[in-house]
Subunit: 358 residues, 3 copies
């Protein structure tokens, strides 16, 4: 059985197949409108995320399937102190596939190890959000015709921007990608992303604080929201939230076929006036997210042929060693096995949240 | 494409057709039980309203369609600062038709201008609630056999009672309607309703503070709830909430074929003992609401033939002029175009909440 | 029309038929996957209970039916002061069957008297939770092959444990049942359960404070959660919550074919290490809950043949007499008829919450 916790769980070949299927779905939706008849998707959202939840629900419904679940922890058994593993085991009795959103890093991975049905990570804190990356890849592919030889600008909050980190990881496996990191110093890309992805994969990248300077060279511009909830200091948020707003006049210097993306929801980082510009692709991106989730569900439920099993990384358990990440699911999950993995760079990481352990 | 924001968006002919269809649905439900197969309704409820939401969901399900959405703002992206327009654009990627409830006046209209699918106003603050009026019209038609030559009593909170205002507007287009306005002075019908509807359409109406005095003359009695949430002063609420309670003994003086209506939920304005009286029609009214929503969905999705496009009122934009209504969506919506319309009476109104602008 | 408010509403013969059907469903699910096409289940949850709600929704979806409803009172009309009876009458316009969870005792019974469709009690405060008992009976039947001649240990919170009381009542109708009550004195079985069930039905039972002492004799061990929400004094909760934890070593003394059950969610009363023991049946129990709810829906909707009508107990109304139970629905429901019944033991009880009235 396969789950999707991290975008790298799929090989490039698997991703290409999923993208291909998503494109076919977008062209002939009726062909797929009853494929999942009698299948149930459980959307387990321990924190609210309307867009992601509705996208998953629409995906399953458009496949002829059914949906149940909850939209925030308040109406879940977690309030009664149930573990994520038990919730996953129980929901496995009711549904055929799970999409889980959780504020704690590693929770969907815990669920995938306990569940007897496939689990899709719909976002776990600041850790992973692979289905957003699937939407991003399909959008780049459809709009530019390729996933290689591209200059991709990533703008805004690159420090806390989970979607940006996942996209860089995904692009690291394609040829000829140039990354331009556009952000204020306070919100620059974290060193571990440089070390573990950009440098490790010998990606071509540069950093700049000026959006206008970077724009002319870009094939893709990926704007991100500066998220209030990521800031400990509200004043710092107020000072930075208006940085890097994309307006029509700034676009004068950009390529005619630039692809402007945004994970949404947008606050004000892209002027509404840009929406009518043919280069604005962020609402197409939302639709692509639904198509990719449809393809992903088909993949994990075996409609694309043998899915095999989740890779089992080489790990070791420990009774002394503990993950120090306060947002890691190991902090709250009952009787969890504290397991770790040795990485190529010699570091030891928690297998759930992937934080380095000293 | 057509949306339903205000009951007057439909012509009398269109309303008659919708009522006719709803009656056919109520007689042969199985005939319609798969018409909307593969269609998705999005119920976007930015404030809770169980009855209205469940009625819409039941309507779509009984048409063979599917439903997704949220039941309060807490689990929506609005919490992350997303605009109503962006939510409408995004949900247009997932669904085929939207039913929106919002505490701010004009929000569904903003959505209808941004969405690429039909939008139904499921209630916007104290402004409009057209599908309630659809339920009311079908009930009057079924119970009295006509929508003309009727004496209609409206009782209770006529000041804040949105459903009453919409019903008066709807009835203003039929012949021989006598309106009897029954309320305490503090909750009397607002002057603008008199000026813009009752007087303007030369409707025959009178005001009284005494329910029993009015009862004998009525073909229809429309009771309304005195809503706590509409009062700034809780004491005034306590003093008035028990006014105008309908009891069995009060009904002695009423016609045998009186049609007693109530938008529900009821608190105590109609004694439970009245429920068994054949003249009590308020639960039939709830069922009629579902049938009319079914007919409305069929209408807007084009199953009743060409729907044409929303009427585009003559409007003008302004950078200085601002709507003064604190509950208007223009107060919070980002980068919204502040647009206004000149009305026959020479007044200038906000196109979103329809408040007069000085 | 029939509703299920109390497990004793069904005769032993009816229960056997429902169990038989549930077993058939579990063996040939596809045979039932479209039986309820065009039927709608309304899940009215006035307090959150994910597991129970998802189990009901999965049950209806697996029968080919549809679902609507709400998952907590906040998004219900109750917030606007609507009575349970009115909610039931209105939802009867939209759905074909209701599953209701409510914090007040007797609320589902009030609903069943007002509704025009069957009502299933999905838990009413500390009073009844019959569908949990249905899951329990199916599990015992499948795992031990019988519902008679069993030694059943009930462990943990027997004072507040509603599911335990219902199970004892259900088992009281079978032959050769030995009950072993395992709990700290503070959480012992209430006297009224002894008087009204154990003694009245001349059941064979004994009480003990020691789980290990009791284990060797048991065919079934029913563990229960010590629920925080049942304690007025948090310190007492802290002191007792870890009592009676089932661990692998404790199981050494148990029978090889012991059936370990738990209504779930579990906090820590059963060690996770026990999950892999073949005697652990609590997740099977969750799945059985879904199958029994499927069978129950078929029963109440008439797919198993004539259902007849709810039994009408001999009751008398009273204007002076009032139920003293502060958690009784009669405390808050508007204009409710205060009715009571004389019991065999000569006591007078509220017909809603079944509390004794002095």
């Amino acid at each position: 059985m396969r789950s999707l916790i991290d975008i790298l769980d799929f090989s490039v070949e698997e991703l290409d197949k999923i993208i291909e299927t998503a494109i076919d779905i977008s062209k002939k939706p009726e062909k797929y409108s009853a494929v999942c008849r009698d299948k149930i998707l459980a959307t387990l959202f321990f924190e609210p995320s309307t867009r992601t939840r509705l996208s998953f629900e629409a995906a399953m419904l458009r496949l002829g399937g059914k949906v149940l679940g909850f939209s925030d922890a308040g109406s879940s058994s977690a309030a009664k102190g149930e573990s994520v593993a038990d919730t996953a085991k129980t929901v496995s009795c009711y549904a055929d596939i799970i999409a889980m959103r959780h504020p704690q890093e590693g929770a969907p991975y815990v669920a995938s190890r306990a569940a007897t049905i496939p689990v899709i990570n719909a976002g776990d804190g600041g850790h992973n959000h692979p289905t957003q990356t699937l939407a991003d890849l399909l959008t780049i592919k459809k709009e530019t015709g390729r996933l290689h030889d591209l200059t991709v600008g990533l703008c805004g909050d690159l420090k806390y921007g989970r979607t940006v980190h996942s996209l860089i990881s995904a692009l690291s496996r394609y040829e000829g990608i140039n990354i331009v990191l556009i952000s204020p110093k306070e919100l620059g890309i974290p060193d571990y992303v440089k070390a573990d992805v950009l440098d490790k994969c010998e990606m071509n990248y540069r950093e700049t604080e000026c959006l206008e300077e970077a724009l002319p060279s870009l094939d893709v511009l990926y704007m991100t929201r500066i998220q209030r909830e990521r800031f400990s200091d509200p004043e710092e948020y107020e000072r930075l939230k208006d940085s890097y707003i994309l307006t029509l006049d700034k676009l004068d210097g950009a390529k005619k076929e630039l692809c402007i993306m945004h994970p949404l929801p947008r606050v004000n980082e892209i002027s509404v006036k840009v929406d009518d510009d043919p280069r604005a692709c962020y609402f197409k991106q939302a639709k692509n997210g639904m198509y990719m989730r449809m393809a992903l569900i088909l993949k994990l439920l075996g409609y694309m042929g043998e899915v095999g099993d989740d890779a089992t990384p080489e790990t070791f358990e420990s009774d002394e060693l503990r993950c120090q990440n306060p947002k890691c699911i190991t902090v709250t999950e009952q009787e969890i096995v504290h397991a770790f993995k040795k990485c190529d760079d010699g570091s030891v990481r928690c297998i759930y949240c992937e934080n380095k352990v000293e």
